[in-house]
Every structure is written in structure tokens, then in C-alpha cells.
Symmetry: C2
Subunit: 312 residues, 2 copies
């Protein structure tokens, strides 16, 4: 048997899955916590890979989805903000030396975009935008059937587009990025500000708020929560209008926890998008759709990359 091994690295969990040459059904999946009292994340990753390694057969390639900026050409993790010490980490070389197998690295949002394009909501499209709206806003872009990587593999950061000069501060430290206005974190911050200013809401006042609480309250009719989702959806729609004019894609795929909010986010998003597109042609034959893969987006994406780079 010949296999691909896909790895999804997260700040809290490491996951690895062994896939056959075709299909999306893994023969073996394992997951462990990224952090541990005595073992470092890199040791844990190597042990995890050993766990899914086949007893018989060949591994054609290992492909790793990384939570942070990654140079896929050099195989170096530039920065993984949630994993202390992973800066300029030549993970490709380390794993190739250890496993004597080709290794590919890719940023996790780029991986997810690849997976949605090949096996998910973007199938059959040549030009696709993928946005994942959760605590941050990640993205990946398919141009002409290829993942947009740019000169050093750092392209595709749509969440860090300035849409409001001098706007609120983003997780990256800059001001007015889409992520700073419409991510789950931005939404929580906005709701907390409104509550501090005395806004009326059914949200609990004695415990830390979460995105899920806002979703639930919005569904139950809480005006402030509805407004929070609508505000985020509007900003995302305005930004997507610009992205349509930059990329002229036929599909926009939206994933991530916040996209689970359904119509309360998506209706204002579509409305803003239609209002802000500068010509109707950008909306012709355009599909806006939810991502097919949820939690497994990173694994499927890493698998997709491995199959692209090392086809059977």
C-alpha cells in the first residue's frame, strides 16, 4: 500500500491522518495536545507521525498545515504565534531527515482553501476565494487553478486588508484590518464595548462572553447580538466586494466558526456585497457558499497539497 500522511498543527491540538492514494477516508487518525509538561511540540509532532506511520507500505509524502506564516518554497515556518519557539523553524528539513520522506508545508488557511477547491465547496471552479472567520480571519485564494502563494509563499492574507484606515487594532498590531472589524474576537470586543456603554442585552453579565453565547442569544432574538453579527457580516461583505474586483472569482467559500451563525451573518454579508460591488458583472454567476469542511479542513487541505505535489 502507498499512503499520504497529512498533519494539522494547531495551538492546542496536533492531528495526523494516514490516507490511501484516493478518497477522503483516512485509515488512521490520531490527535494529541500540542503542549505538554515535559515534551516539546516538535518531539510530540515526531511521535505523532510515528504513530500513524504504516507498518507495511510506503509513505509517498508528509504534508503539514501550519498555523502561521510559512514559506512553502523553503519549507520554513516563519512564525507560529501560538507555539512558543517556532520561529524560522525549518520543519521540512527536520522531518525529511527524520522520516526520509518528502515533506511539504503550507499555511493552514491556504491548505483549507486547497481542500475546499479540490474536494469541497469550490469544486469545479477555476478562481476561488476562501475566507475562514473564527477568532481571526484566514484566507486562501485560487487563481486559474493554482493556489496563490506569491514570491515567498506569504500571499493570501485577505483578513489583513485595511478596510478602515485608523480603525480598531488587529491581532497583528496594525489598524483597521478586516480581521479587526469582523472576526469573532472583534465581535466580542464590540459587544463588550456596547455593554459597557449600557446597551440592553440578554447576554450574561457575570461571565466571560464567547462567540457561541452571542450566536445563541442572537438566535433567541437578542438585538445586540443580532447587531453584532450583522455588523461583522456587513464589513465582510464590503471587503468581499473589493476582493471580487481584485480577483473576479466565480465562488467565495466561507468557513470557520463564525460562519456557523447562518443567515444572521450571511444575509447582511450578501446585502453589503451586492450594494458595494462596483459593477453587476462581478456578481454574475457568482456563488457565495459555506465551506464543506469544518474541523477537518486542515487535514483535507494538507492531503490535497500532498496529492498535488506528489501525484501517484
Amino acid at each position: 500500500m502507498i499512503y499520504y500522511i497529512a498533519v494539522d498543527i494547531g495551538g492546542t491540538r496536533l492531528r495526523a491522518a494516514r490516507y490511501p492514494l484516493e478518497g477522503l477516508t483516512a485509515d488512521e487518525v490520531t490527535r494529541i495536545h500540542t503542549k505538554h509538561k515535559t515534551e516539546k511540540p516538535l518531539e510530540r509532532l515526531i511521535n505523532l507521525l510515528s504513530d500513524v506511520w504504516p507498518e507495511d507500505g510506503l509513505v509517498k509524502a508528509i504534508s503539514v498545515a501550519v498555523p502561521g506564516p510559512t514559506d512553502p518554497y523553503r519549507g520554513v515556518i516563519i512564525d507560529a504565534p501560538n507555539i512558543p519557539g517556532w520561529e524560522n523553524l525549518p520543519l521540512q528539513q527536520i522531518l525529511e531527515d527524520r522520516f526520509q520522506t518528502p515533506v511539504a508545508l503550507v499555511n493552514d488557511a491556504n491548505a483549507a482553501a486547497l481542500g475546499e477547491w479540490r474536494y469541497g465547496a469550490g469544486q469545479g471552479h477555476h478562481d476561488m476565494l476562501y475566507l475562514t472567520i473564527s477568532t481571526g480571519i484566514g484566507s486562501g485564494i485560487i487563481v486559474n487553478d493554482r493556489l496563490l502563494l506569491g514570491a515567498h509563499g506569504l500571499a493570501g492574507e485577505l483578513g489583513h486588508t485595511t478596510i478602515l484606515v485608523n480603525g480598531p487594532t488587529c491581532g497583528c498590531g496594525q489598524a483597521g484590518h478586516l480581521e479587526a472589524l469582523a472576526s469573532g474576537t472583534a465581535m466580542l470586543r464590540w459587544v463588550e464595548e456596547q455593554l459597557t456603554r449600557g446597551a440592553i442585552s440578554s447576554l450574561p453579565k457575570d461571565e466571560p462572553l464567547t462567540g457561541k453565547m452571542i450566536n445563541r442569544a442572537a438566535e433567541a432574538g437578542d438585538e445586540l447580538s443580532i447587531q453584532a453579527l450583522s455588523r461583522a457580516g456587513t464589513y465582510i461583505g464590503i471587503a468581499i466586494a473589493s476582493f471580487l474586483q481584485i480577483f473576479n472569482p466565480t465562488v467565495v467559500v466561507i468557513g470557520g466558526g463564525v460562519s456557523q451563525s447562518g443567515d444572521l451573518l450571511m444575509v447582511p454579508l450578501r446585502h453589503a456585497l451586492e450594494e458595494h460591488a462596483m459593477a453587476p458583472q462581478y456578481l454574475d454567476n457568482l456563488t457565495i457558499t459555506r465551506a464543506l469542511f469544518g474541523d477537518e479542513a486542515g487535514l483535507v487541505g494538507a492531503l490535497t497539497l500532498a496529492r498535488e505535489l506528489y501525484p501517484d
Copy 2:
């Protein structure tokens, strides 16, 4: 002899040039006004093409740079705002029928980007952004040695990226686009607003202002004019920081009349860009440079397209 014919359509002038298979020296160049009392622009274009048609020899292709959104796949001008009646004009078919020669259409900013990439300031780069700052802001993007066109050829409109939600109105009718904040038109509007509010300036008060006047006054030390250029440069720099994160190019080429302002625009632009890039890697090995071609950018670009599509 074998030739290419390149055409640059403008709201005020039509230009055509006949080029040999290689080099940038035209054998014949003609230019006429686009508008005329009795002749329609399309008739004038056809006459212009006849004028540069070789007496002996073969024309391999005609390539046309169009001042407005154009579908290069279908060969249709969707809209040319400065030429009345040119909406959904199937110019490719019209010219192919008339001249029995392959015809290609391309948006003029995309053409200029192609020209700069092949023969100008972007030579040797695989990933390039081109911005032309004049009355509006046009742009063209090279990704992996290809012009970014998108599904219907309408991609690359970086000037219509929203960078200030609810900001000033753009020529396209939308709010807060880069063009509405940093084009020549936007600069004039801002200066006029400041003058109305009583700003002190050496600019003439009794005649309509032009971009050239602002340039000249700025060079002579007029604070308001210096501020106008600095403000535009800052917005362009902030926008380019976002575009670097989207495309991760190795070169940004800046053309158009406003770019002639030199350091008074470029220094604030570079400063804003460096301040707003979210990671230093986006600035590594990045060249920011002025365009090589000025007025002839459209012709050189159309020629480049013809040579790409119909190589010798």
C-alpha cells in the same frame, strides 16, 4: 515583413502603431482625436487601423488597449465611460470581420502592467503589482508570470479597494475606495476643500486647479500642496501594504501623472508602506519603482499582449 498592430484607445485620443516582430520601435505611429463632429469613434478607429496597415506584408494580430472594463475572453468592451455608446461592444468580432486578422482586447491598465513586466520596470519579476495614479487609479497584477484576469477578465481593480468604509465617494459611485482618497481627482478635491475652509496656500484662487499646479506649488514649498501629495502617498502606501499581504510580489511599479510628483509623493508612500506592512518579510527583496513607460504604456502593453498571444 510580419507586423503587430497595437492600438491605445483613450477618451480624447486614439493611437495606433505598427511594430515589427521584435523590439519596441514602431515603423509607423498615428494618432487622432477620438471624437469628431460627423464620424463615430468606431469608424475613426477603423480608419486609423487602415492608416497604419502595411502596404506589403502580414499583420499577425491587432491588439487593443481599452479605457474601461473589458472581457478579454469574449472580446467585448463592457463599458468605456469616456466614449458614449461603447457598452457591451463586441469590438474583437467587429475588427476581425473587417480586417480578417486575429484581434485581442485588454483593459488599458492591465495592458500597461503587461508592458512594464515584459519590457519595463518589472522585467525579470514573476509577481508584480502595477498601479497607475492619474485622474483615477488603475492597476494590473502579474501572478506567477501571468496577468491576473479572473473568471471574466475583470480582475485587477486595486484602485477600487475600500480602504476607508464610509469614506469619500469614488468615481465609480462607491465610497472609500483608494481612488477616492489618493487619485489626482481626489487630491484636487481635498485641496479645494481645504481652501474653502480657509487654508493658506500660494495656489491661484481665480482659476480651476490642476494636478500640475499642485505639483509645481509643492515643489516651490507650498505647505498645502505638500500636504496634499503626502496625504495621497500615505493612503497609497497603506493600501500597498495590504496588497503585499494579498499578493506577496517582488516589485511594485507605480506609473501615471501623479507619480511624476517624485519624492513628495514617494517618501510618504514608502514610509506608510513600511509602517503598515504586518511583517518585515513582505518588504524583503521588495522593489518599489516608478514605471518606465509614460504616455506610451498602453501601446507597449497592447503590443506585449499581441506577442504573448500570437508569438512568432
